[in-house]
């Protein structure tokens, strides 16, 4: 699960991690109060920050959502000392479409702003904590190259990234924190301030079951304070059950409505841009089925894993979700039943297609116990199924259906 910058900073604050101060607003009517409060705290320069679940906000562009040609503002993060200017930025960001290199051309509507203090600093650094799958341990990555994309640093100057792996039983030790500080070339007060910073940051990562924590940039202020200017946190979905306070941060506006709908039915659905919908049991087979669609000359419209127990209900819900996408021109159902009886799944498919008056061609491939009986059921249903007996056969039937659709 992803959360916004302002929420991540709220989490970090609880762990005593120094962060750039600010107030989140969802409506322009809250702007004046936010500024007054920040001024009361002695703040005189401001940054207006768009809050969306994607990186590259600073270099992004804001467009009118009703007319994507109309550029409203360059930059989704703006610094100013002028309160009126800050308000102007806020007006131009809220409700508009922010397009960054991570959002794709469709962009994301800005629904929340984080109005923060503007800080002067002498250096930008990078800090990231994540799982290193190669060694099955968490790793802290630090770099003197802050404020730029870490992937780029890793590509071009990998020697500028220093890493420290954490033994899960021992946790992060002070000597490791010192190693990182020395590696970053810190000295004096900045060095002293960095040690507690990283120890607290790691504690926050560990205790919240975070799966990724990135501070980019981490800044050294003019008076040598170490502070998180930005913060990005992702969480392990498998561990959310023990963090109700984190689940509260879920922002449904950031998710695809169809994906939200699917999650209500316990279906694992991801919307894609293609024209062939697919319904599969098992994540690996679902990905392989998407690949087959592509090889057959189509483009997958979705990833959909209906899970182990494919039954009438899951199949019907799957159809509902797939058909809500108007781009879908054909559907491929690929269920490897195994222990599940295929004739029962087939009956579920037939009932669902009848009930929902499915119009697009449906290629069905059922494998496992009673696969032959299932094929007979489908063929005798009076409905227009393309029944495939193998994966290869299914691929060919998708191709022929698509060719027919194109010429029909």
């Amino acid at each position: 699960m992803k959360i916004h910058e302002y929420q991540a900073k709220e989490v970090l604050k609880k762990y005593g991690v120094p962060v750039q101060d600010g107030i989140a607003i969802k409506d322009i009517s809250e702007f004046d109060d936010a500024i007054t409060e920040l001024q009361r705290r002695g703040i005189s320069q401001f940054v207006v920050k768009s809050q969306i679940h994607a990186g590259g906000r600073g270099k992004g562009k804001l467009y009118n959502p009703n007319n994507k040609e109309e550029l409203v503002l360059e930059g989704g993060v703006k610094f100013t000392t002028d309160v009126l200017k800050a308000k102007e930025y806020a007006v131009k960001m809220l409700g508009n479409l922010l397009v960054t290199h991570q959002t794709g051309s469709e962009g994301k509507i800005v629904k929340t702003l984080f109005i923060t203090e503007g800080l002067d600093y002498k250096k930008e650094l990078y800090l990231g904590i994540l799982l290193d799958r190669a060694v099955s341990k968490n790793v802290i990555m630090a770099s003197t190259e802050g404020g730029v994309e870490i992937e780029k640093v890793a590509e071009e100057t990998p020697e500028k990234i220093i890493k420290e792996w954490i033994d899960p039983s021992a946790g992060l030790h002070a000597y490791q924190a010192r190693k990182l500080a020395f590696g970053l070339g810190l000295e004096g007060a900045a060095f002293k301030n960095f040690i507690p910073f990283i120890l607290k940051l790691y504690k926050a990562y560990e205790e919240t079951d975070s799966s990724m924590l990135e501070i980019n940039p981490l800044i050294i202020t003019n008076d040598d304070l170490i502070l998180a200017l930005d913060a990005k946190m992702n969480f392990d979905d498998n561990a959310l059950y023990r963090h109700p306070e984190i689940v509260e941060y879920r922002d449904l506006d950031e998710e695809d409505p169809l994906e939200i709908e699917a999650s209500k039915y316990n279906l694992n659905y991801i919307k894609l841009d293609g024209n062939v919908g697919c319904m599969v049991n098992g994540a690996g087979l679902a990905m392989a089925t998407m690949d087959i669609i592509k090889l057959a000359g189509g483009e997958p419209a979705n990833f959909l894993d209906v899970g182990g127990g494919a039954n009438k209900e899951t199949v019907a819900n799957g159809f509902k979700i797939i058909l809500s996408d108007p781009n879908v021109k054909a559907i491929l159902i690929n269920i490897f039943g195994g222990i599940v009886r295929c004739d029962r799944v087939a009956q579920g498919v037939i009932d669902a297609v009848k009930e929902m008056a499915v119009q697009v061609p449906v290629v069905v491939r059922l494998e496992g116990t009673n696969a032959v009986e299932a094929k007979e059921l489908l063929e005798n249903s009076g409905l227009n199924f393309e029944v495939a007996l193998s994966l290869q056969d299914a691929a060919q039937k998708v191709t022929s259906v698509l060719t027919y659709e194109t010429f029909a």
Partner: protein, 312 residues
């Protein structure tokens, strides 16, 4: 021959009284697996359904009474990492963890505690291990398998069944099939299983099914290039998957431009693996590779001296 598991292997089932655990224990017994015990804390002293399989409170008790060597874990995700540790500390030699959805933090801790011990962990979030015709520990449908000489190793469940079915339909049996699991932290990786299959005289060829995310396929390809003479057929699922999204499996995610299918396929091709673009061609490609190997082996042996040109 087979690896990890055969007819004699004494198996305990942790979580034997749960819905999944009890159903699949029945299936395992039916397939021929030597299930000697079950473990459910608080239900020690009972018997499993209508069988004589005794249930114990702890794995240690089960080992003491039955000499169990392997375990199948069907414990719910919140307690599964603990169950793995319990089994490892009690002296189990093969742990197969079927449970899906274990928090990564729990697995990091348990993985690193178990790592140094004399125990093999398969999974979590996997279909398990089957040595066709002998025994299975897991949830895979037994009937699609056929006893034989090709080893299968895969990160997926149903996609593995797909590959196995293709092999069986072509008359190619399997020595052992191992589902290593779809999580970012798993006990056995491709390389671990491939080493075992490579050393197994009963295995003639290897099918390896990977997916996007991580770098375990690349690691295995490097090993295969140096050490494996048996034909290897490979497939990577997720060529069409978008970056940054978790495709069902927690481990199947392209992050920071790394872990893409094309990267993995390139590394595997470089290692001499027969990489198939279509998952429908896994079986037929293995058949061709095996046939080619046999014709090579059947070539008449030259008698007398042959001077080899010296290459510099």
């Amino acid at each position: 021959m087979s690896i990890l598991l055969d007819k004699k292997t004494k198996v305990v089932v942790q979580g034997i009284t749960g819905g999944e655990g009890s159903f699949h224990t029945g299936q395992m017994i039916e397939y021929g697996t030597n299930v000697v015990a079950g473990v459910t804390p608080g239900k020690g002293g009972q018997k499993f359904e209508n069988t004589n399989v005794p249930i114990f409170n702890t794995v240690a008790d089960a080992i003491k009474a039955t000499k169990a060597e392997a375990t199948a874990i069907f414990v719910p995700p919140a307690f599964a990492a603990d169950a793995i540790l319990e089994a490892a500390n009690a002296g189990i030699k093969l742990i197969v963890c079927i449970t899906e959805g274990i928090p990564t933090k729990d697995m990091i801790t348990v993985y690193n505690l178990v790592k140094g011990k004399d125990v093999k962990l398969v999974g979590p979030n996997c279909p398990g291990v089957i040595s066709p015709g002998k025994a299975k520990i897991g949830i895979m449908p037994g009937f699609i398998h056929k006893q034989g000489r090709v080893g299968v190793v895969s990160r997926s469940g149903t996609l593995t069944y797909e590959a196995v079915k293709q092999l069986s339909d072509l008359g190619i049996g399997q020595s052992t099939c191992v589902g290593i699991g779809g999580d970012p932290i798993i006990g056995s990786r491709f390389i671990d299983v491939i080493k075992l299959l490579n050393d197994d005289p009963g295995t003639e060829g290897i099918v390896m099914i990977g997916e996007i995310g991580g770098s375990a396929e690349e690691e295995a390809a490097e090993f295969i290039k140096k050490n494996v003479k048996k034909p290897v057929v490979g497939f990577i699922a997720g060529r069409t998957a978008p970056p940054g999204r978790r495709m069902g499996h927690a481990g199947a995610i392209i992050s920071g431009g790394k872990g893409t299918a094309s990267e993995k396929m390139a590394a595997m091709k470089k290692a001499g693996i027969h990489v198939v673009e279509s998952p429908a061609k896994i079986g037929i490609t293995m058949k061709k590779a095996l046939d080619k190997m046999k014709t090579k082996a059947a070539k008449p042996v030259r008698i007398g001296k042959k001077v080899k040109p010296v290459k510099k």
